[in-house]
Subunit: 456 residues, 2 copies
């Protein structure tokens, strides 16, 4: 009996090791295809240089949708369609400006600034007021009596001691998101926010702010780190007034689209795996890392599976989501329609953390599903992925997870450089490395292959 | 008895977990010190911008030695000294040039080239000859009758399918190292080598060539990938001659120095741990990744241990090695003197793979030592290091390992971008990321701390 068990055990072992060997060979084929014939980098060049920034509602958004539709066809989708959704239409409206006068100097000093996304403009005459600096919301509250009629300068530092820089972002982004309304509550006339970055340059970073509709909406700009430190050092010694001119406004909502490509499943066509990134991007740059990288990686997964002649068991949807940056209406629409049509979604994978060298995936699902994912790590280690972290998803697949309890995952690349470029004019093609971008696509394709083959 | 064992077991467990907790706190302190007060990036700026390329024998080499000595003192070494060694003195001697004529075009087309390090110049008149392309040494052998009087163009591609790019380098670098002499054997008058890179630009990469002294020494240049592909495409259709002018020569050997700083051990002053990188660099750029990064990381380990008031049990030597790029005479001298003085070297750590985000260490030592190192991985994972690979060391500590059997290790950062910059004029400060550089220093300091505390 014992012998039989051993023999059975060996059989099982050899079946497992045969399967693992087969998987490891398949993933090697995926890697070779991407590293030798990859199109992600060329596609990114095309998207960033021929279209550029793709803010929701802008003419570039429509160009990007048409581009995505075409690229999805070229990459080999069985079907490609646009999924319509109503989207907000914020425009920057002109050049953002800010300057200040220092005693004894004749000319005003310029600040390198960018208006926060969704923020209201100052009007053509601008706004000029004394600046009051606070380093936290606690300090704002402590100084609430002094705020009226002033410009609040949130000088909250991006914490350098978090190794994963998204934690520094999560810690600091509240000042961009809620700072304007919290200052408006005490009568501030505008807000300056220290950029959410640890970059060594002085470039300001934009991103969405969220007004509280019950409070006055005041203009809000970001400054880079050197200007933030400059303001701080001057304010230690003297009072200053800053002049701000911004031109942001909301036009009426308009129509945008998720671009969707599909490889139809051979065994379970009604069971859907989603993989995607977002097509829109902030306007100051080319949206190369955020999220051009995710867009072209998504299409690279499609192209690669097709090029290798892989026929998925489940239906795989490749989605370029609309309006992630200032509304997530594309994501909401995708989830809403999935629910309305009673679709079965077995897994969703998002890529929206930059085209950097991969380190892992995040995952939200059951402990059993997590255990299965982690059992695949040995297959991914040769390609740089060594951990599946608890928690994971992203703005574009969270609604699907909420609506249908779909297990969800996100590619987790190295985070050290992400906030150097995030929402800044340096988020350009030249700052993306071809091989790092490709390694991300390799690991995504490998994970999609494994989920498709074994289920979750 | 069983109970006692359990109690003892629990004690042991809690001692281990207390020690691990203590270590994890110490490494957290190391990380905070480097991320908040780090000097590596500023030091790198100083070295690269105020001194620049530091080829052995050049005036910049001497400047860098003086700089290193001073920086070592500032960083807090107990003693600092220079270790003299005889070094080769190759000079580029002027601008490297190459051009070719294509039928029907009036003006010659220029190639962007750089002479290989250690290569002999063409003389002021240059050399002009028909080009014969080979894609491998096998093809060279097959065409050996056609080589005489020609310029051999080695167009061997940097293999994109290796995930670790050092494997692509190990695979391709033989054409730079041995190509000139192997071509000279069959009467070639010069050599053009496709650069050892997968960069997307056209910038040529230099590096040492190694002549066989029994064969004629012929000039040798590298071309970037676009020029290599251009030559290849033209040569498919027509014969072409290329004109090459280079000016390299060896001057008589001169004197260089290893710069050494020391923290003297409190318990075992006679047992030495070495940590280092190399101070010299190729001349076309600033030697920022190769190996300015290693230099400043080495000093950052010193500065950090000192700043934290850590008194090492063993003596720790921080070494900026001379002449790694074209002779390794500094490394040889260090090992030679260690042996002559009968020093006890318990561990050596090298950092010479660029200032990129860390992924692991390589290690050469006994299986027991390897097991000990691997038992520390959980302490390093939060800082990005998740593997200790078999094999490791580097040109600057290999001689020590050979002479005294010293266990040796090297920092293994992510390799995707390294060969974009390696030995090319793009190896400049701007291409080093502050936090990636710092994370390397954190892991190095952590490993040195662990080896010092527990031995190997």
């Amino acid at each position: 009996m014992r012998k039989l068990l051993i023999v059975l055990g060996l059989c099982k072992l050899s079946i497992i090791s045969f399967a693992q060997n087969e998987d490891s060979m398949m993933i090697r084929h995926i890697a070779d295809e991407i590293l030798v014939n990859g199109k992600a980098y060329d596609n990114l060049h095309d998207l960033t240089k021929n279209i550029g920034g793709r803010l929701t509602g802008s003419p570039q958004m429509y160009k990007a949708e048409a581009w995505g539709q075409k690229a999805m066809n070229v990459s080999g989708a069985d079907k490609v369609w646009l999924q319509e959704c109503k989207v907000p239409h914020w425009i920057r409206g002109g050049k953002d400006e800010a300057s200040f006068n220092v005693k004894m100097k004749k000319n005003p000093a310029k600040l390198d600034v960018i208006a926060l996304g969704n923020s209201i403009g100052t009007g053509p005459k601008g706004v000029s007021a004394e600046v009051i600096e606070v380093r936290s919301f606690d300090e704002l509250e402590a100084k609430k009596e002094e705020i009226k009629g002033k410009i609040v300068f949130y000088n909250y530092k991006f914490n350098p001691t978090f190794i994963r820089t998204f934690l520094s972002y999560a810690d600091a982004v509240q000042y961009r998101g809620y700072g304007p309304s919290r200052a408006a509550k005490y009568g501030a006339v505008a807000v300056i926010v220290r950029s959410m970055t640890h970059s060594t340059d002085n470039i300001p970073h934009t991103g969405a702010t969220r007004y509280n509709d019950s409070l006055p909406k005041i203009p809000a700009i970001a400054v880079g780190l050197k200007d933030a430190d400059l303001l701080d050092s001057i304010l230690q010694k003297q009072k200053i007034s800053v002049f701000i001119k911004t031109n942001g406004q909301f036009l009426p909502d308009t129509i945008g689209h998720n671009v969707i490509g599909e490889l139809t499943g051979t065994e379970f066509p009604g069971e859907i795996i989603t993989v995607g990134g977002h097509l829109d991007s902030w306007d100051p740059a080319e949206g190369a890392h955020d999220d051009g990288a995710g867009v072209v990686q998504t299409m690279e997964v499609l192209r690669t599976l097709k090029a290798l002649g892989y026929h998925p068991r489940h239906t795989i949807r490749f989605v370029l989501f609309a309006n992630e940056e200032n509304g997530t209406r594309g994501a909401d629409k995708y989830a809403e329609e999935a629910k309305a049509k009673n679709e079965k979604h077995i897994f969703a994978l998002e890529t929206d953390a930059g085209g950097f060298t991969p380190r892992g995936f995040g995952f939200t699902g059951s402990p059993e599903q997590m255990a299965r994912l982690r059992s695949w790590i040995p297959l991914l280690i040769p390609y740089g992925v060594y951990e599946i972290e608890d928690g994971g998803g992203g703005a574009d697949i969270d609604p699907l997870n909420k609506a249908l309890n779909t297990p969800m995952s996100e590619l987790a690349p190295d985070t050290q450089r992400y906030f150097d470029y995030h929402h800044a004019r340096t988020d350009v093609f030249e700052n993306v490395n071809k091989r790092e971008l490709e390694l991300g696509a390799i690991n995504m394709a490998a994970l999609i292959y494994l989920v498709d083959k074994y289920g979750l």
